[in-house]
Amino acid sequence: MRPLVSPANIAALPVTRIRPPSGWTSLNHRELWNYRELLYFLVWRDIKVRYRQTALGATWAIVQPFLTMAVFSVFFGALVGVPSDGVPYPVFAYVALVPWMYFAAALTQASTSLVDHSRLVTKVYFPRVLVPAAAVAAGLVDLAIAFLVLAGMLLYYGIVPTAAVLTLPFLVILTSAAALGASLWLAALNARYRDVRHLMPFLIQLWLFLTPVAYPSSVVPDRWRPVYAMNPMAGIIEGFRWALVGSGERPGVPLAVSVAVILTVLVGGLFYFRRTERSFVDVL
């Protein structure tokens, strides 16, 4: 057993102060750091469990974006003739679908995560933010698998990425931050109002139309561009296209707007989540 602190040293032990909730509180990053191993285990569990007892297993991570890409290619690419910035339409669509599907899945999972884990949340204390954070992080494995197929497609179409590919990690982090930021608000709301669960499929669908996944953002009229850029996923998806297949111009301004919007939503979400997490147990 771990040696016990002698009575003389009790004063040296960390003190936990329990007080009634009062308004806004700090984010307490030190405590978050202490619980980093739990975050790791929660992510690890999500990944381990996700495809247990499924016939296709991790293939699902490929099947979904790939089939969606095929449908998009037939209808938008071939039949409607949506422009694709000089890149073959299948690649154009797939490059966008992979990060989009990660974002959509992470957002959906994380938004309902508190309620899904209510057994855990009502029995053990830990920083509640770990629950949505783990849901967002666990989706990264699917993202990585889907990227492998993308590499194959690039090879097939003979597309060689430029040095811009090095910005990929940054774009992935940005996507995670966008999903976490939005889901912090939604998860906190969902603890109290279960409407969020019904809202999610609808929200994701609308959001998809407002994001240049099936079409390039170049089709958006210039005067609508500033409003359009307020959707952080618009800049991110254009960023992925630019980084991987070199289509379009460097999306500097849209990306900068995305970063600003994401930071605002994320920081606001963290504080809002901290403020409401104290009452989760009373309503879960």
Binding site: M1, R2, L4, V5, P7, I10, A11, L13, P14, V15, T16, R17, I18, R19, P20, P21, E37, L38, Y40, F41, W44, R45, K48, V49, R52, Q53, R119, L120, T122, K123, V124, Y125, F126, R192, Y193, R194, D195, R278, S279, V281, D282, V283
Partner: protein, 419 residues
């Protein structure tokens, strides 16, 4: 000695009937829209508050093993949940020195699809262990749980006994400065319970501080150096275990007379409430005893059950336990393989025990209604208490003296001196 837990005027209140599960955004919007109107009318309807815990002040010194006792709903679990930081207090303060581990439930976070090994790591991390700590104690945990052979089998294939043993084993190897335990010893078989108790002893002897809630007075007496009694959210006694336990048993037990319907609607309980006990009556059906049960005599329980819908239940039980919480008789319908058809509204049923093999004394009666899939419709433990009286009639030609007796099958042999 310095206090490791200092609690001052701690309180938690809830809204009566606070079932926020069905609150929707629409309700909130309607309420928000109508609130100013109602305020104008001066008729703001307020749901009443109840205090689950109030004015709790006490200190716990390092190395103390503090038992919390009281009837269901007395505020024990609320206090533990506040100290575990799972719920926030409404008022007051609590300062805790050192690392806390709390065990409000066995197997929190266990995932049925994961193997024993994986769940040990996951559960350990959830309870606050570092990975290095789990690595170090892994073999010990496995040996304690006696599930070495199934370490790489998903726990969904475990028997419920194995599952419980594994879950408790992880918890038993936590090494916090302060351990908070809520009624987890109520699970598992007798041998394993003894093992768990032994382990808790070990933790306590080590000088760690333990807060312990249990209905099992024998366990509390054996384990605790100090006991606090709670009633209706208030701390009513605090001191030496023997004294406080005696006070609890004397004041809190409420014997109900035979042949009278005992209303149960207001009794605290667990379960979904889809079907529930509303009243019960018991009787030996023997006029010579005025309805009282006597040692080795018959005892019949009459129950009135209300059900929301027509349903068939396959698990109903009457449990008799000693005042210290040891179960002595469990008359469970499942053992007979029988079912009970309930119609919507009021139903009557009867459980007849042919012989009550109990010595004279006071016993708690628990009532259970559920199904074999582990669903609990209604569980009252205790629902009420009864007296078992001495049988004054002569048997085998003699009148038993003293404390009554419980017959058992036995033989006597005369042996020669050499074994």
């Amino acid at each position: 000695m310095k206090a490791v837990i200092a609690v001052g005027d701690l309180g938690k209140r809830y809204r009566v009937g606070q079932r926020r599960r069905h609150v929707t955004l629409r309700d909130a919007m309607v309420a928000a829209a109508s609130a100013p109107l109602e305020r104008l009318r001066g008729a703001r309807r307020q749901a009443p508050w109840i205090w689950a815990l109030r004015h709790a002040s006490f200190e716990v010194m390092q190395g103390e093993v503090l038992g919390l006792i009281g009837r269901n709903g007395a505020g024990k679990s609320t206090l533990l949940k506040i100290l575990s930081r799972v719920v926030e207090p409404t008022e007051g303060r609590a300062d805790i020195r050192g690392r806390i581990a709390s065990l409000l439930e066995v197997g929190t976070g266990f995932h049925p699809e994961l193997t024993g090994r994986e769940n040990i790591y996951l559960n350990g991390a959830i309870l606050g262990m570092r990975k290095a700590e789990i690595d170090r104690t892994f073999d010990e945990i496995l040996a304690f749980a006696e599930t070495e052979r199934f370490v790489d089998t998903p726990v969904k294939h475990y028997s419920s006994g194995m599952y419980t043993r594994l879950a408790f084993a992880v918890a038993a190897h936590l090494e916090p400065d302060i351990l908070i335990v809520d009624e987890v010893l109520a699970v598992g078989d007798g041998a394993f319970q003894r093992k768990c108790l032994g382990r808790m002893h070990h933790v306590a002897r080590d000088g760690r501080t333990v807060l312990f809630v249990s209905h099992n007075m024998d366990a509390v007496r054996r384990l605790c150096s100090r006991v606090m009694l709670l009633r209706d959210g208030q701390l009513v006694a605090d001191g030496e275990p023997g004294t406080v336990i005696a006070r609890y048993l004397a004041q809190e037990s409420t014997q109900s007379p035979p042949d009278e319907w005992i209303p149960l609607a207001a009794t605290s309980r667990r379960g979904t409430g889809e079907a529930r006990f509303v009243a019960a009556r018991y009787s030996s059906l023997e006029t010579g005893f005025a309805g009282y049960a006597h040692s080795d005599g018959p005892l019949t329980f009459f129950v009135t059950i209300e059900s929301d819908i027509a349903r068939t239940v396959d698990s109903m039980a009457v449990k008799l336990s000693s005042p210290s919480g040891v179960t002595l008789i469990n008359a469970e319908m499942m053992a007979l393989g029988q079912t009970l058809g309930l119609k919507p509204g009021t139903n009557r049923a009867r459980i007849a025990i042919r012989q009550v093999h109990l010595t004279p004394g006071t016993y708690d009666v628990g009532l259970w209604l559920g199904d074999s899939h582990g669903r609990t419709f209604d569980h009252l433990d205790p629902a009420f208490s009864i007296d078992v009286v001495d049988d004054p009639l002569p048997r085998f030609g003699v009148t038993p003296k003293g404390n009554g007796f419980v017959p058992c099958c036995f033989q006597v042999f005369q042996d020669d001196g050499v074994a």
